[in-house]
Symmetry: C2
């Protein structure tokens, strides 16, 4: 077979430099995703390959989220990948919302034609086409019908980790892909009140995860009518600000009312012996969060990962020009690594040991090796050179503060492990505070539509009055490409008039351009 190499899907540049954020934010993002080995486009249109460095972040996200779900009483299960086409017709909004972008299975067999490869066997046509799930409300509520008979069967508090497919035409690694990984919670309740409490609880779980693990501050509140999930009564969301001032919807929690129970005939006998339809919620976050993580913290040197989600916490670089110099540096590095790994397992790191990598790549210059560690986003680097060792000390560099400012010289080796353990906590807090300061500095208020139109050309979120109608929302979106991101729970109460129609408004809502 011919040995022709297919063109790589990596950026064409060979200079190994990351584009700066100032030069081209979108190229900067793509450079980081490729250069840090997080993901790449596959030969299947719109589908990404999540590379080991990217997947390791997802695994840490999964562990943390899964722990939060279980702590709030949820269990995991798994439902089919395929959804019969007829299920889509049962809930009207769902059909409208997802029909335009779904992968359809029509046949169940190929046949081999010798010399010609394989073709679809026309005789193996499905009676009813199957849709690759874009989300699983329909198949799950069809299943719940048999699981829910009495109020004693409720609540059902179930989550699923899986892949879903939405046939997106314009894709972007992590942020928008045809196939992505996510979790989807689907709960059933006996009362509206309980389902609404669940909807709120889960968006608060997402907030906690975003703020305490991702170190990404978020704004929490309901979506407007124009932005809610198809099939939901209302949608609560967490919204984060990226470094270019755009919004990223990072998680949503939907109160579905009795829509799916009615569509799939899910009823239960209540305490008084009467049959009622069950109340539903659903909530999800996806690998899109990795995109949000990158764009919240990373810098022109590469990826920055908050320690609680970092696959590797500490990179130790022994140095030396000769074997004589290297041997004691390697020994000290191994000793420190062992000490770090042996620290007591703590909740902060999900009861996992601190993860340490030894860089023994002496072929490259220290500068190159340090830059590689920075590119990959490892939170702490330890430098162990002959001069440090003379003093039984090391240099500790923190990734969140690049350059000399982030370096502490002369850290005694006897104290290094415990100081690094504390430093990891400090970095986590610093990343959150820095992102919050940035975000808060980039939220402004517009008092007229004129002002709004000028402001929206600058990065950031805008507080503005809106009359609460779908029409006005759609008009603003068409004219400015900005959408209502959220009606924050903690917005100030302030009566005013809609910037577009002049009709009364009960308070400002948050507008932004978004991913």
């Amino acid at each position: 077979m011919a040995e022709k190499k297919q063109q790589s899907s990596a950026p064409a540049k060979d200079d190994n430099k990351i584009t700066t954020r100032a030069a081209n934010y979108s190229e900067w993002y793509q450079d980081i995703v490729y250069r840090a080995g997080l993901a790449e486009n596959s030969d299947v249109r719109g589908c990404m390959v999540i590379k080991p460095n990217g997947y390791a972040i997802w695994e840490n996200m999964q562990k943390a989220l899964d722990g939060l779900f279980k702590a709030t009483g949820h269990v995991n299960a798994y439902f089919p990948l395929f959804i019969p086409k007829s299920f889509f017709s049962k809930e009207e909004q769902m059909a409208e919302g997802f029909a335009k972008e779904c992968a359809v299975v029509t046949h169940y067999r190929l046949k081999s034609i010798p010399g010609q490869g394989v073709v679809v066997d026309p005789e193996a046509k499905l009676e009813e086409e199957l849709i690759v799930r874009p989300t699983s409300e329909t198949i799950i509520w069809n299943t719940y019908r048999n699981w829910i008979q009495s109020y004693r069967d409720l609540p059902l508090l179930i989550n699923q980790w899986c892949n879903v497919v939405r046939w997106e035409m314009r894709t972007r690694l992590f942020l928008r892909t045809a196939e992505f990984l996510w979790q989807e919670g689907h709960t059933a309740h006996a009362t509206q009140q309980e389902a609404e409490a669940e909807t709120l609880q889960m968006v608060r779980v997402y907030q906690k995860f975003a703020e305490e693990w991702m170190a990404m501050p978020v704004i929490v509140g309901p979506k407007s009518e124009g932005q809610k999930f198809p099939g939901a009564i209302y949608t609560l969301c967490i919204e984060a600000m990226m470094q270019d001032g755009k919004a990223l919807q990072a998680g949503t929690s939907h109160f579905l009312g009795q829509n799916f129970a009615k569509a799939f005939d899910v009823t239960f006998q209540n305490t008084e012996g009467k049959r009622e339809h069950a109340w539903a919620t659903s909530w999800g976050v996806s690998t899109r969060m990795i995109g949000g993580l990158i764009m919240t913290h990373s810098d022109d040197n590469g990826l920055v990962i908050p320690p609680r989600l970092a696959p590797t916490h500490v990179l130790i670089c022994p140095m030396g020009r000769t074997d004589e110099e290297r041997a004691p540096a390697i020994a000290a590095a191994e000793k420190l690594a062992a000490e770090l790994r042996a620290l007591p397992r703590e909740d902060f790191f999900g009861f996992q040991p601190i993860s340490v990598k030894l860089d023994l790549d002496f072929k490259n210059s220290p500068g190159f090796r340090f830059a590689e560690g920075e590119l990959k986003g490892i939170p702490v680097r330890v430098e162990l050179g002959p001069k440090d060792l003379e003093k039984q000390a090391c240099v500790v560099a923190r990734r969140d503060i690049p350059g000399k400012e982030g370096k502490t010289m002369g850290v005694p080796l006897t104290e290094a492990a415990s100081r690094i353990s504390n430093l990891l906590r400090e970095i986590q807090a610093n990343l959150y505070n820095r992102a919050k300061t940035f975000r808060d500095a980039n939220i402004r208020s517009a008092d007229s539509y004129e002002q709004f139109k000028e402001m929206i050309e600058q990065p950031g979120f805008i507080w503005a009055h809106w009359d609460g109608t779908r029409e006005t929302e759609d008009k603003i979106s068409e004219e400015t490409k900005a959408t209502i991101r959220c009606i924050p729970f903690d917005r100030p109460l302030e009566e005013g008039t809609c910037m577009v129609t002049g009709n009364p408004s009960q308070g400002r809502v948050l507008f932004a351009r978004s991913y």
Copy 2:
């Protein structure tokens, strides 16, 4: 909408009893899967719903296996669900092996016709059909082409956790389903020797997992030519004996040679500057293992789960007829639960705390409550009644030994936590030993084809001489429905003659009927 309940997919019987193994082994299996809440058939042909109790076992399997993979240097990644049809033609054996049973995506859009629901949009036809992955060698090796340039890029030691689809016509929960969950490792190496060592290492990892976590003894060795993976040079496997004497292939590790590197043009520059094709392995285990777990240990009272994989380790049942009797029993139960949960996290339980459930369901009789715990397979039950409490003691019952024999009365509450912790280890060992004793007692030798044909009607494995040819293997399989399960690594060396052809044989191989 009409409130008609769809017929449940659960067995029709209402008597709540599990069919005994002796009465009908296959119904017994199905009863356990349904009654213990492990899985059920969905409305999508061949696809199962893995229910929370079943999925919790899978999660524990994943944790243990993932730990073993990482301890041997592997990392996780994620590759696309879809495979372009043309990829199937590139490796001939793959195409032949999987083409007959795959789900084909031909369209990417539905359209809504008001009043009529949704139909497939004929204008949204894919130029090239996509296959839902039945296994990912092709898409992964297509990706590896860009990842592998030099010997420095090797080895690639990558694993993926995902769903796959094989359009099976006759399905059985966990054992054979159209969609199932699995892991698939795909490694690339610079030398044949290294790839073969990896193939062996991974089947040994599977053996370790089967024996030390699943408490399921396995036989390890290569498959015969007729049973190997399409596209492999050879396949190593672990084979277990179920309680009906049938074999279950529980995991496979394939040495793929350079087949996929050649099919997808994956070459690297070796240390001498010459380009070579990379060497490949792949290896996988799936949710099928849950079927094997059930059929290895469970009994006529229900599920039996080895402690290292049990989602709940201990069920504590406080008892009492009045509130006055119940209150101190509940208090003692809560105290014991807290003590068990607070035991130091140990490797044996994957550094997870011991999982304890309190059964406060006083509406039901103690007998009913105990039976429920047994049905679900919880390894240890603690009974806390008024008479036990008078003596500051409890009853500890082990699930692996049903009835009075498995009960220890008068266990002092002060000692209960540590004794239960030890008992869990004892149960794990006992389950393994019992399964091994059973298996070893059900392996016999046949010295003629006559004898073989009689013996194969009885449960168990058969050692027999075979001439090593595909023809003879196929003949035996057609005539007896028994296949060569494995050519065990540790088979005794014994020259003989093939029971069918009389041709020379270097040693006996293991035959059985299988799942």
